[in-house]
């Protein structure tokens, strides 16, 4: 099953549609958005996915995270140490 999501990459000027497989991990989801925004935004390093005021654990799948069609996710840079499952993040959608 594909889930259409609105993705917002930190540093980008626009939102992009991502058709996410329900078994994609949050890492895979974040990398997909980074690849889609490549013409405008290019930075290296770990990313985290935020939805509805919380950071989604990296090992979660789209299904685990309960992401539904047309949900908004923001993808933000995190430091390496933070690149682990955690609770909340500022500035999510």
């Amino acid at each position: 099953m594909l889930t259409p999501l609105y993705g917002f990459l930190e540093g980008d000027t626009m939102g992009l549609l991502i058709l996410a497989h329900e078994d994609w991990s949050m890492v895979r989801l974040a990398e997909q958005l980074r690849a889609s925004a490549r013409v405008r935004v290019a930075y290296e390093g770990p990313l985290a996915v935020f939805h509805d005021g919380r950071r989604l654990p990296t090992h979660y799948s789209v299904r685990d995270a309960g992401l539904a069609a047309l949900d908004c996710v923001s993808v933000r840079r995190v430091s390496g140490a933070e690149h682990a499952p955690s609770a909340s993040g500022a500035g999510d959608v």
Partner: protein, 510 residues
């Protein structure tokens, strides 16, 4: 009045002075006896609040034009436009000007003519259903004005068509499903075709024409002068003289409206100020801050907005006892960011529009940093990155430096979700009858929520793609759905060939 001088001498003894006959011709309201007033001017068409005729009796506007005066004045203006078309209306004239400036022309002359034609309809509705005859007379002239605003750009751009197929979009634009056309139609259908005369007066005549078209027709005219585009300058100023006259309907209606329903007046103002801003930010903001050659720029879009829109707008609000729109802090932030966010997005999706876009180089970025000290540093990495992408690519390989994913659109304004800042997009959502709606900004969501029945069934581009009504593949979307093709879709205005790009021999052609 057409009275012969013999008759004048025998009968009345002298020709009537203008003021003696003027109101018979333009402000003559009589009590209806065959049908009730509410039947001749039903609220559904005439607008709310529905007030008895006496409530409108003090309605007045300063021009008080008669038909003879109108015809004489317009005839002179037509002669001036015809002269400039004769002198400058050849394709070679456009080649003198920078390609990005000509892009701004294509953007404007596509947005303008058929929207002006929709404004004919809005004016004609007021010419029949406006609540006092002086208003109806002025609106009738307004309809005639908007007809020439339709015809002038179509006439003036037509000679350019043979040499440049993008000029076909002067007429084609509103008949296409290009995303900009979907956004413009969504706004103008409501503003110009659906609005009752009261809403039309506040939205079109007051907010749009008294406020924003100054930006277009006064500030942009100054830029035409700086750039040396006499034809566009003549076109804009000819149109502006009409706008200045029929825009007077706005304050005249607003003055009576606030006496009877201030909350509704405030609502209309809040709604239409935001919607107008978004459109002008794209059309005029692009032209002023990106499509005018940097050496020719005089003011930034933000400075022009402050000088031509905000000062006057603040004065008018005070005059009518109205408040600034509730979202004012968001608007101020948007003045620093919004059109920059949209331009960078549009540049990276330039094949989705009918004009070429220019890449801001070091000189342009210096200028932008100077004018937008607070916001531009956050946008600059995007331009640096796009420039790096061009350095890895041969000039002319346009689609190699282009977005591939499907962009996302606001359920209200239908423009790409470019609100907020690069650090924090201002996207927000709501649910209505089981469906999800996504907005570029809080004001767009608020406008939707005030009147969901009006907006809920309109599908934005993403919903059209997901419903299978539009292709999800970008090239198919552009060619089969948006009405573009390789000859007409937007490319880099210089083919990505900028002297300042550092294209190493080994790097290009990757």
């Amino acid at each position: 009045m057409g009275m012969g001088s013999a008759q004048q001498n025998r009968g009345i003894g002298r020709a009537l002075a203008r003021d003696e006959w003027q109101d018979l011709a333009r402000k003559l309201d009589w009590r209806l006896s065959y049908v009730p007033e509410a039947q001749a001017f039903p609220e559904a068409v005439s607008g709310r609040p529905w007030l008895p005729q006496e409530a409108w009796s003090a309605w007045e506007e300063p021009f008080r034009t008669s038909f003879a005066e109108y015809a004489r004045g317009q005839s002179d203006k037509e002669a001036a436009v015809a002269a400039v078309a004769e002198a400058l209306g050849r394709a070679a004239e456009r080649d003198r000007l920078a390609p990005e400036w000509n892009s701004g022309l294509k953007l404007h002359t596509a947005l303008l003519p058929l929207a002006e034609f929709a404004a004919v309809v809005g004016n004609l509705r007021a010419a029949r259903f406006g609540r006092t005859s002086a208003w109806r007379s002025t609106a009738l002239f307004g309809a005639l004005d908007e007809l020439r605003h339709t015809q002038i750009p179509l006439r003036l751009m037509h000679p350019y068509l043979a040499a440049d197929a993008q000029f076909d979009w002067t007429h084609r634009f509103y008949h296409s499903n290009d995303w900009v056309a979907i956004a413009a139609r969504h706004c103008f259908d409501e503003l110009l075709l659906l609005a009752d005369p009261i809403e039309f007066a506040v939205a079109t005549n007051f907010v749009f024409e008294t406020g924003f078209t100054n930006l277009q027709f006064t500030a942009l005219t100054a830029l035409c002068d700086s750039v040396g585009d006499r034809l566009l300058e003549q076109m804009l100023s000819s149109i502006q003289t009409d706008e200045a006259r029929h825009a007077q309907i706005g304050p005249a209606v607003l003055e009576i409206l606030v006496q009877h329903d201030r909350a509704y007046a405030q609502y209309l103002l809040d709604k239409w100020f935001w919607r107008s801003f978004l459109l002008f930010a794209v059309a005029t903001g692009f032209t002023m801050d990106y499509l005018t050659p940097v050496a020719r720029r005089t003011h930034s879009f933000k400075e022009f907005m402050q000088e031509w829109v905000l000062e006057q707008f603040a004065d008018s609000l005070a005059r009518y006892g109205l408040q600034r729109p509730w979202y004012w802090p968001l608007f101020e932030q948007a003045l620093d960011y919004y059109h920059h966010m949209v331009y960078a997005s549009a540049y990276s999706y330039r094949a989705s529009v009918w004009f070429h876009l220019a890449l801001p180089g070091p000189a342009e970025r210096d200028w932008l940093r100077g004018k937008y000290a607070a916001s531009f540093p956050q946008l600059e990495p995007v331009w640096e990155n796009i420039a790096r992408e061009w350095e890895r690519t041969d000039a002319g390989v346009d689609l190699a430096v282009h977005g591939t994913a499907i962009p996302t659109f606001c359920s209200l304004c239908q423009i790409v979700l470019c609100g907020g800042t690069p650090a924090q997009n201002s996207v927000c959502q709501c649910r209505h009858e089981g469906n999800t709606y996504t907005f570029c900004s809080e004001p767009c969501r608020w406008i939707f929520q005030q009147d969901p029945a009006r907006y809920a069934r309109h599908k934005d581009v993403v919903k059209r793609v997901l419903a299978g009504e539009a292709p999800g593949n970008l090239i198919a979307f552009l060619t089969q759905y948006s009405g573009l093709n390789f000859a007409t879709w937007g490319k880099d205005a210089y083919g990505g060939d900028y002297a300042w790009l550092r294209r190493g021999p080994g790097e290009a052609g990757e």
